[in-house]
C-alpha cells in the first residue's frame, strides 16, 4: 500500500532532481540502506513515463508547478508497486490541463489492476475516472457505481454547497 498525502510536508526547496525523489520509492522493497541500483533507476523511469513526466527527470523539484509536483509524488508512490494506492485530494489546486493528465494516469493504473482509493471533491473527474464512489458526509451516505451515486438527488448539494469539506471517497 502506498499513500500520497494532500499537503506534502516535503522540502521542495532542496536541490534534488525529480528522478532522485521518485527512486526513493524503491526503498519500499529490499534493503532500505543500499544505494539506488540501475534496476531502481529503470523502475523510476517507467514510473515517470506512466505519469507523463519523463522529460522532467533531471529537473530540480523546486522548479516544478503544483500539478507536476503532484505527479512526482504519485510516481514515487507508484514505484513502490502497491496493490492499493491511497490519494488525498490529488486534484486540489490543479489547473484543468494538469487535472486531465492526472486523471488519465490514474485511469491507466486502474486499468492495470491497481486499486486506487481517492478522497476528492471534483465530481466531474470522479465520473470520468472512477467506477465506484462512496459519498461521505460524516457517515457513508451512498456507496455504489459512480454513475448511480452521483446521479442521486441532492448529492451535488452536499458536496458543493452545504458541506464543502466533506470528501467523496472513490474506488477505482
Amino acid at each position: 500500500m502506498a499513500y500520497v498525502p494532500q499537503r506534502s510536508t516535503a522540502r521542495w526547496d532542496l536541490p534534488l532532481t525529480v528522478s532522485e525523489v521518485v527512486v526513493a520509492g524503491c526503498r519500499a522493497r529490499g534493503s532500505r540502506w543500499r544505494r539506488p541500483t540501475p534496476d531502481d533507476r529503470g523502475q523510476a523511469r517507467i514510473s515517470l513515463r506512466t505519469f507523463g513526466i519523463e522529460d522532467l527527470a533531471d529537473r530540480t523539484v523546486g522548479a516544478l508547478s503544483g500539478g507536476q509536483a503532484q505527479r512526482v509524488l504519485l510516481a514515487r508512490a507508484f514505484v513502490q508497486q502497491p496493490r492499493v494506492l491511497l490519494l488525498d485530494e490529488p486534484f486540489a489546486g490543479l489547473d484543468s490541463a494538469s487535472a486531465d493528465s492526472l486523471s488519465l494516469a490514474i485511469g491507466d493504473l486502474c486499468a492495470n489492476g491497481m486499486t486506487v482509493l481517492c478522497a476528492m471533491h471534483e465530481l466531474a473527474i470522479a465520473r470520468s475516472v472512477f467506477p465506484r464512489t462512496i459519498a461521505l458526509d460524516r457517515a457513508v451516505i451512498a456507496d455504489g457505481p459512480t454513475v448511480e451515486v452521483l446521479a442521486a438527488e441532492g448529492i451535488e448539494q452536499i458536496f458543493v454547497t452545504r458541506h464543502p469539506s466533506s470528501p467523496a471517497g472513490t474506488v477505482g
Binding site: R11, L14, E20, V21, V23, R27, A28, L64, A69, E89
Partner: protein
C-alpha cells in the same frame, strides 16, 4: 619570493607537514557532513553542540580519558537534553538549543580553567594545527575516510529522508537512527577538528564550504564533493596565509572558508539570475505551488 616558494617553503618542517595533512583531512571531512547539516537546518544545533563539546573534552582531560570519547559523549548528552526539553517540556527548539549549549559551554570553560594551563582554553576554542601530534593526524585521516565513505554510501538515503521524512518512514527507513548517526558524525568531526581548528572554528568548516557549494551547483548530490574541495582549499590556503602573515591558523582557515561563501554569492547571484531566466523564457514569475482554494 616566487609563487612556488610561497607554496612549498612553509612545508619544509615536520610540524607544518603534519599541519597540512591535518587541515586537509578536517577540510575534506567537515564539509562532507556539513552539506547535510545545512540541508537539514541543523547548523544552529551543530554550533551549540560544538560549544557543549568543550564540557566533555574538559571532563575527559581532567579524568585522563580519551578526549574524543568525552567530546562525543557531551555532544550526544546535549542532543538528548535538547530533545527532552523540546518533546517533554515543550520548550521551542532554538531556545532549548541555546540554553543547553551555553550551559554546557560554561561548564566546559570552568573545566578547562581547572586544567591549570592558561593557554589551554584558547587552544581548544581556536585550535592550532602546528601542535597536532602524529597520532591525532592519524585519527583525523581515519575519520575523514569514514565520513566521506559513509556520506557517499548513505547520500541518496539522506537526500530522500531530508526531502520527505514522513515518506521515508512509510517505506521503512529508520529515520531516527539516521538522524542520530548524523549527530554523532557531526560531533565526531567537531571533536577531531578541535586540535587543528578548534571547536569554534570546526563549525565554520562544517558550514561555510557547504553553503558555498550549494550556491554554486544546483544539485545536492554534486554539492558534496565540491564542498569537500572548497573545505580542503580553505584548510591549505588558510594554513599558508597564516604562516606568511603570522596570523593564528584556525581563524585564518575559517576566514578563507567564509570568503568562499562571499565569492560564491557574487558568482551565483541567484537574485538576478532567476529574473533573467524568467525573462528569457518569456513567462511571468508565478508561485510554483498554487495552494488549494
Amino acid at each position: 619570493m616566487n609563487g612556488l616558494a610561497w607554496l612549498l617553503d612553509p612545508f619544509a618542517t615536520t610540524f607544518m607537514q603534519r599541519a597540512l595533512v591535518s587541515s586537509l583531512a578536517v577540510g575534506i571531512a567537515a564539509p562532507a557532513i556539513g552539506v547535510w547539516a545545512v540541508s537539514r537546518r541543523l547548523v544552529y544545533l551543530t554550533d551549540a553542540m560544538s560549544h557543549a563539546i568543550l564540557a566533555g573534552v574538559a571532563a575527559a582531560a581532567l579524568l585522563g580519558v580519551s578526549l574524543v570519547v568525552g567530546g562525543i559523549a557531551a555532544g550526544l548528552f546535549m542532543a538528548l537534553l535538547v530533545a527532552l526539553l523540546v518533546i517533554r517540556v515543550k520548550v521551542p527548539e532554538d531556545s532549548a538549543i541555546g540554553v543547553v549549549g551555553q550551559g554546557l559551554f560554561a561548564i566546559g570553560v570552568i573545566g578547562v580553567g581547572l586544567l591549570g594551563d592558561p593557554r589551554a582554553l584558547s587552544h581548544v576554542l581556536f585550535g592550532n594545527p602546528l601542535t597536532v601530534t602524529a597520532g591525532e593526524v592519524a585519527v583525523q585521516i581515519a575519520v575523514a575516510i569514514v565520513i566521506v565513505g559513509a556520506g557517499w554510501f548513505l547520500g541518496p538515503l539522506l537526500g530522500m529522508s531530508t526531502f520527505d521524512g514522513a515518506h521515508a518512514r512509510t517505506v521503512g527507513v529508520r529515520v531516527g537512527l539516521l538522524d542520530t548517526g548524523l549527530i554523532v558524525a557531526l560531533a565526531l568531526v567537531v571533536v577531531v577538528g578541535l586540535t587543528s581548528v578548534g571547536v569554534l572554528m570546526a563549525i565554520t568548516l562544517i558550514t561555510a564550504p557547504a553553503v558555498a557549494a550549494r550556491l554554486l551547483v544546483p544539485r545536492l548530490s554534486r554539492s558534496v564533493p565540491l564542498a569537500s574541495a572548497l573545505g580542503a582549499f580553505a584548510g591549505v590556503f588558510g594554513l599558508l596565509l597564516s604562516y606568511h602573515l603570522a596570523l593564528p591558523t584556525g581563524p585564518t582557515i575559517a576566514i578563507v572558508a567564509v570568503g568562499e561563501v562571499a565569492l560564491a554569492a557574487l558568482v551565483s547571484r541567484p537574485w538576478s539570475g532567476r529574473r533573467a531566466q524568467v525573462e528569457l523564457a518569456g513567462v511571468s514569475p508565478a508561485p510554483a505551488h498554487a495552494g488549494a482554494p
